[in-house]
């Protein structure tokens, strides 16, 4: 596994908002084919790190590269065109078009690169067929022709994932896909994510639901207070005292104030 070159490389990324370092000197690699979990207590900097990968936030220092190509300076849509895809934490369906059309819109990305090409194309059968297949893959084919506005969150989360997959990405970023779901739904969706990974999709999963993360992820990167405090196989990582301290500290609602006292270990 270590032999293959990384698909995504996050190198020494620091994001500062004013005087506050939301992410401090974080580096990690995502290897082709893996399902990597990015975890950490609230306020650890996971979402900011994710945003610096997708381009919503520019890192103050450091770089992000996809397949060896530096993408740090590219705008969001260029990164997506290069092979990233994002399923957002808060689902953002287009409410005026059907579930199928939401996914088909993403499936037509090659026709919408340039406005002129988009203007001269009417046909949508291929994209509709691709969208239907993806809805099947994430288990909501039955909702294809309905409007997203009236769907339960579980369906929308899956729709959002199908929409990201429709971009035919090299790397799928999932930002808390299980948040807001009950344990049964979360379990089912986590299994779907694992299945998509087994079909060959490289995935970075940001998630709070530790039990599901432990169940499906092959490798974890743990953040706390913007720093990477551990990485490795799930069981090993969770046994590290620093990681435990970070999570227990969080439970005691004092995480922001006091970083782990014995925090000299490095992964």
């Amino acid at each position: 596994m270590t032999a293959s070159s990384p698909l995504l490389r996050v190198a020494n990324v620091t994001v500062r908002f004013g005087g506050l370092s939301a992410v401090a000197d974080v580096s990690f690699d995502v290897r082709p084919g893996e399902l990597l979990g990015l975890i950490g207590p609230n306020g650890a900097g996971k979402t900011t790190l994710m945003r610096s990968i997708t381009g919503v936030v520019r890192p103050t220092e450091g770089s992000v590269s996809l397949q060896g190509e530096d993408i740090t300076a590219l705008p969001i849509h260029k990164r997506i065109q290069k092979g990233l895809a994002l399923s957002q934490q808060l689902v953002k369906p287009f409410r005026q078009i059907s579930v199928l059309d939401n996914v088909a819109l993403a499936a037509g990305a090659q026709h919408t690169h340039s406005p002129l090409r988009a203007l001269t194309r009417l046909a949508r059968q291929n994209e509709n067929a691709a969208a239907r297949e993806l809805l099947e893959r994430v288990g909501i084919a039955g909702y294809a022709d309905q409007m997203p506005g009236i769907q339960p969150l579980g369906v929308l989360k899956r729709m959002e994932m199908a929409r990201a997959l429709a971009l035919n990405p090299k790397l799928l970023l999932l930002d808390e896909p299980l948040a807001g779901l009950n344990s049964k739904e979360a379990n089912a969706l986590a299994s779907t994510i694992a299945q998509i990974n087994q079909q060959g999709m490289t995935i970075v999963l940001i998630e709070h639901n530790l039990s599901e993360v432990m169940r499906i992820c092959q490798r974890l990167v743990v953040l706390d207070n913007g720093r990477k405090i551990a990485s490795g196989a799930p069981r090993e990582v969770m046994e590290q005292p620093e990681v435990r301290a970070a999570y227990l500290g969080d439970a005691a609602t004092a995480a922001e104030a006091e970083p782990a006292t014995e925090g000299e270990h490095h992964a």
Binding site: P75, I76, Q81, F94, T112, H113, S114, A118, M147, L167
Partner: protein, 291 residues
């Protein structure tokens, strides 16, 4: 008969103008409170070139080009500001336009430009030209809505941040909307100058911008048939009823307010909800969804 021909010509120009704003505001979701400036740019370009000896027909594409180019420059601001701020910025554009025209002697200054050379068409012929161009624009808009560009515009209007995540180059699409919409406004402007034979800075001010916006809102933002009906009705009403002509601003302002309050999707929205009520089984999936 001459009166009807003149009225129908004016209505066609209004429809074309309203459709051009609808393309930017209705289809792509970018508010513009300064659209009359582009009507003016088209009118001045065509009038000046006619006076310089160019045949009227040759000035049509040039009017579109100049208006479209300025439109792209204004569109560049839409990349930096959104919503309310875009509304204020575009409002500034129309004041800027009027302010500049007033001060320039070669543009006729306060006096405007009169005695614009004739096109060579008969009154009926010119009416047919205006009608034909308005119809062609309507067909183009319907086509655009069905194309992939229409789908992207629709997405940008609803949530441009999510469109970026779906790999869409949002700035380019916004500029495309501004370029097409303002070029069409320029075309309407060229017809306007030729129809009234006189143009002045006051014909293309803020009031004119709000008038065309109320036509779009009254008909139904985004709906091509709605905007056609809205623009045709609102441009004809003041001519039919003297009272409305006298209180034009009051009537337009009132309509704008009433529509925003009771039917934000305009006439088209009212028709759509009536149809839905008549045939509830036809589309159960659409129930409970915003029209």
């Amino acid at each position: 008969m001459a009166y009807e021909i003149s009225l129908l010509t004016a209505m066609s120009i209004s429809v074309l103008f309203a459709l051009s704003l609808n393309l930017i505001t209705g289809l792509c979701g970018q508010i513009s409170l300064g659209h009359a400036a582009f009507l003016g740019i088209g009118a001045y370009t065509s009038a000046l070139l006619c006076k310089a000896g160019l045949p009227f027909f040759a000035t049509l594409p040039l009017a579109m080009l100049v208006a479209g180019l300025v439109g792209v420059v204004v569109g560049l601001t839409s990349l930096r500001v959104r919503d309310d701020f875009l509304a204020i910025t575009t409002m500034g554009v129309v004041f800027l336009f009027v302010g500049i025209v007033r001060q320039q002697d070669w543009l006729g200054g306060e006096m405007g430009i009169s005695n614009i050379p004739v096109s060579g068409l008969s009154k009926t012929g010119f009416m047919l030209l205006a009608l034909g161009l308005a119809a062609a624009t309507a067909i183009f808009c319907v086509y655009l809505k069905k194309s992939w560009m229409g789908r992207v515009f629709n997405g940008i209007a609803e949530d441009e941040d999510t469109m970026r995540v779906l790999s869409i180059d949002v700035p380019r699409y916004k500029l495309a909307a501004f370029a097409i919409g303002t070029a069409l406004a320029g075309l309407a402007g060229a017809l306007y100058g030729q129809h009234f034979k006189y143009i002045g800075p006051d014909s293309f001010g803020f009031i004119e911008s709000i008038t065309v916006l109320s036509m779009v809102v009254f008909g139904g933002i985004g709906s091509v048939p709605g905007v056609i009906v809205g623009a045709a009705l609102l441009s004809a009403l003041p001519a039919w009823f003297q009272v409305i002509g006298d209180y034009k601003l009051l009537v337009y302002g009132g309509l704008l307010f009433l529509m925003m309050r009771f039917s934000p999707m305009g006439l088209a929205g009212i028709v759509r909800s009536l149809l839905k009520r008549k045939a509830p089984e036809a589309s159960p999936a659409a129930q409970g969804v915003e029209p």
